[in-house]
């Protein structure tokens, strides 16, 4: 024990002195919580908790936060949704659509930048050609590109170590989500459900780029689960894996959410539950085999993907210590599952919903009648097409035991159309939505940062936002929750009460999850907006 502490102290001292040189081995990521000066994965740690032990910026002084530096790409960008990795004095950001740039974390100056040669026409159906971030492992950073390649770059120079096609962009596959780097493997998913591609999750050898396995998320005729598609099993589509997954190193299980079945609104050709769409998959990363699945929205037809980042946490429920995976779903329910077995523990709505009476003992929704898309004027259903939450990440504080989620409160009229999947085409003609929506006006919608008891989903507080936001939350040991608004406010709330403590107007909608790190003994928080990547610290 004493020896372990000594080793830990030595490791921390080394990291603080900046003596490492872009080397982030697997074991370092496993222990990400012990080096809060870095930000080593998209979700802050393998559990995707987005919680930092840094407490220098706290309730008492957060109002004094000031801009330290601003970085802007050479050319203006659109759809900036980048979440950086910070390690050993370097910040790795992405610039839309698929550029990776390394910045000196002390000054914001560019160290190197790499851009792929993209085809003249990138097919980006139902998504924006952007990148939410890279993964780091060893001396290498990894990015999934808009044309559905996975690329490994030298962390010091940006030189390409390898570049492999994951799937065919012409069919509608595109990558926006960050890869997940675990022990010797890089896992990557894709988007494209609106182009009616077949969902997949891949693992590649981190050193060579060789594909180790592929998991198709929707079965075809003869495969397990095909009976949940009726005649649609011949061309089952959707269930894409377009966000980031989480990982439990002890159980050696990867948790990854899947998107909607295709077409979104016209479900005539796909009777049944449509496995494994709108599900959470627990996968053995050594084999690529599913250990269990939990389907949140069987036979989904409102475009409520279940690609939200799953958060892993340990807590005591009914006197027993449990290993949990929790998820605030786009369908407006908050779920608590046993992450060993996938067994449903509890689930409650965390936003207004009109489509289900509740969940049964197994977590399956009990449907309300007349809440399906209809022909003509459509049906008003809550939540809206963008769900009670979209891809932005929640956070979990082990100090407060609360789960913080940026919530959308809005509905939409859902209209069923005639769109069908076309056979034998040369790629997608356009959106295979099979219908559409009519959104409610701005004044009929709002957003909120909500704090839920992580083990029950019971709401502790909320901070209301003018409009629904696409910004994740960050919880810190300083008793703070950081998040942003769609109007451009970057702000800090009291993690216990939701009271606003600081607000900085960024001048443009915010679409990235905030992060925090430490440098030279000072804590920084970081957010993007418009073209700007902005680091904040105390005076």
């Amino acid at each position: 024990m004493r020896m372990r502490q000594w080793i830990l102290a030595a490791l921390l001292a080394g990291a603080c002195a900046g003596s490492r040189a872009q080397d982030v081995p697997y074991q370092r990521i496993v222990r990400a919580d012990r080096e809060p000066q870095s930000w080593l994965t998209y979700g802050g740690n393998y559990q995707s908790q987005r919680f930092s032990r840094l407490a220098q910026v706290n309730r008492g002084n957060v109002a004094q936060l000031r801009v330290a530096w601003i970085y802007q790409p050479v050319r203006p960008v659109a759809n900036l949704e980048s979440v950086p990795i910070v390690a050993d004095g370097v910040m790795y950001i992405t610039e839309p659509p698929s550029t990776v740039t390394a910045l000196d974390v002390r000054t914001g100056l560019r160290l190197w930048s790499w851009s792929p040669v993209l085809p003249k026409h990138i097919v980006s159906i139902g998504l924006y050609a952007t990148s939410r971030g890279v993964a780091i492992l060893g001396h290498t950073v990894y990015i999934g590109t808009a044309d559905a390649h996975l690329v490994a770059l030298d962390a010091k120079t940006g030189a390409v170590r390898w570049n492999v096609p994951v799937a065919d962009n012409k069919m509608g596959y595109a990558i926006t989500g960050p890869p997940l780097a675990i022990n010797g493997k890089i896992l990557i998913g894709t988007g494209g459900s609106e182009a009616a591609v077949r969902g997949l999750l891949d693992a590649y050898d981190a050193k060579t780029g060789r594909r180790l396995w592929r998991l198709w998320t929707v079965p075809r005729v003869g495969e397990s689960g095909a009976d949940t598609w009726g005649p649609g099993a011949a061309q089952s589509a959707g269930g894409t894996t377009w966000n980031n997954g989480s990982y439990d190193p002890e159980l050696n299980l990867v948790y990854w959410g899947t998107g909607n079945p295709a077409p979104d609104f016209n479900d005539d050709d796909r009777p049944g539950d449509n496995l494994y769409t709108c599900s959470l998959l627990a996968i053995d990363p050594d084999t690529g085999k599913m250990k269990w699945y939990f389907q949140f929205s069987p036979h989904e037809n409102h475009d409520w993907d279940s690609a939200e980042p799953p958060v892993l946490l340990d807590a005591v429920i009914a006197g027993k210590p449990r290993k949990l995976v929790v998820l605030a779903n786009r369908n407006a329910f908050y779920y608590v599952l046993d992450r060993l077995t996938g067994k449903f523990i509890t689930g409650v709505p965390f936003a207004r919903e009109t489509w289900a009476k509740g969940l049964d003992a197994n977590g399956r929704p009990i449907l309300e009648p007349n809440q399906q898309p209809t022909l003509g004027a459509g049906t008003l259903v809550y939540p809206s097409i963008t769900g009670a939450v979209d891809w932005s990440s929640p956070s979990y504080s082990p100090i407060t035991g609360l789960f913080y989620v940026s919530t959308h409160e809005t509905g939409a009229y859902y209209i069923k159309g005639t769109g069908k999947i076309e056979q034998g085409g040369q790629g997608p003609r356009g959106i295979v939505g099979g219908g559409g929506i009519r959104a409610l006006a701005g004044e009929q919608s709002y957003g909120a940062i909500r704090a839920l008891e992580a083990t029950t989903g019971k709401r502790k507080w909320q901070f209301r936002l003018l409009s629904p936001a696409w910004v994740g939350t960050l919880a810190t040991a300083g008793g703070l929750v950081f998040s942003g608004s769609d109007e451009g406010n970057f702000f800090a709330l009291d993690a216990e009460t939701g009271k606003p403590l600081w607000n900085f107007y960024m001048g443009h909608e915010i679409r990235s999850n905030p992060i925090t790190y430490e440098l030279d003994g000072k804590q920084y928080v970081f957010e993007t907006a418009g073209n700007a990547y902005v680091a904040f610290t105390l005076p």
Partner: protein
């Protein structure tokens, strides 16, 4: 799979101004309306539902993608055809390369059909008498025309190109009803312009005015004297919308129906340069 991003710049233009170019025959460049005449809005509606409504909503008021009302009038049909067929790089707007020019024109005709209600009606009165009424009724205390007048209410230099007689008469009778919506600001849905708010500060001080800016922490109101008030929302005792209210008085009883026609006729002559 909904990835959200920016409201496209072109859709964020003032909707009234966008509609103007369609209804001002002299000012509108022929190329901007070419194609719309040949498009079939009914067929366009069906094509729009199949191809566009997943993101833009079935009524084109926006969903995950932006509000498209007024966009063909604002950008011109040629530019919209180009966007439909080639997409917009770096955004979620895909290319619909196998839609024919005719099909694109049908979609544009469908989009243009939404502009019609704002510009409906016929001019009945005498614009000269209307001009005199405008001057004697105090309108210019709040509104500006070609650089002359007040700045509490919206500028009217081009109002005759932006609105039709029916819409103008409705606003003179009940200025707070059916306030215009636009797609600027937040997310892609429509927000009400000129909406009145009543704010009560902690000390009981009341500020009433129309919203000119708002975010999750601040609201900026413009009061009846034209003064801006930037208010820190967490510090307010209360903040409430006042739907139906307006800083502008109703002219329903102040003007006879004939005078109303005259005033509308004058306003319809205001088609000044942008």
């Amino acid at each position: 799979m909904a990835f959200l991003a920016s409201v496209f710049a072109f859709a964020a233009g003032h909707k009234g101004a966008a509609a103007a170019q369609q209804s001002a025959p002299a000012a509108s460049a022929p190329s901007k309306s070419a194609g719309a005449a040949s498009g079939d809005p009914a067929r366009g509606k069906s094509l729009f539902e199949q191809n566009c409504s997943s993101c833009h909503g079935v009524d084109a008021t926006g969903g995950e993608g932006p509000d498209l009302h007024g966009v063909p009038a604002s950008l011109g049909d040629e530019a919209v055809v180009n966007i439909i067929k080639h997409g917009i790089r770096g955004t979620a707007m895909p290319m619909f390369f196998d839609l024919s020019d005719k099909e694109a024109a049908d979609i544009i005709a469908f989009l243009r059909s939404f502009d019609a209600s704002a510009t409906a009606g016929t001019v009945k009165g005498d614009p000269k008498a209307g001009k005199a009424l405008y001057e004697s009724s105090g309108c210019s205390a709040c509104h500006m025309i070609e650089g002359q007048g007040g700045s509490v209410g919206p500028e009217l230099t081009r109002i005759g190109a932006m609105r039709g007689p029916t819409s103008l008469e409705d606003r003179l009778i009940d200025p707070g009803a059916n306030l215009p919506q636009n797609g600027t600001g937040f997310y892609s849905s429509k927000w009400t312009e000129y909406l009145m708010f009543r704010a009560v500060e902690k000390n009981g001080h009341v500020i009433e005015g129309m919203r000119v800016g708002e975010d999750s922490f601040v609201i900026v109101l413009k009061d009846g004297s034209g003064k801006f008030h930037a208010l820190w929302r967490p510090d307010l005792r209360s903040l409430a919308q006042e739907p139906g209210k307006s800083l502008m008085p109703s002219f329903k009883s102040a003007l006879s129906p004939a005078q109303m026609d005259d005033l509308v006729a004058y306003l319809m002559t205001l088609k000044g340069a942008q």
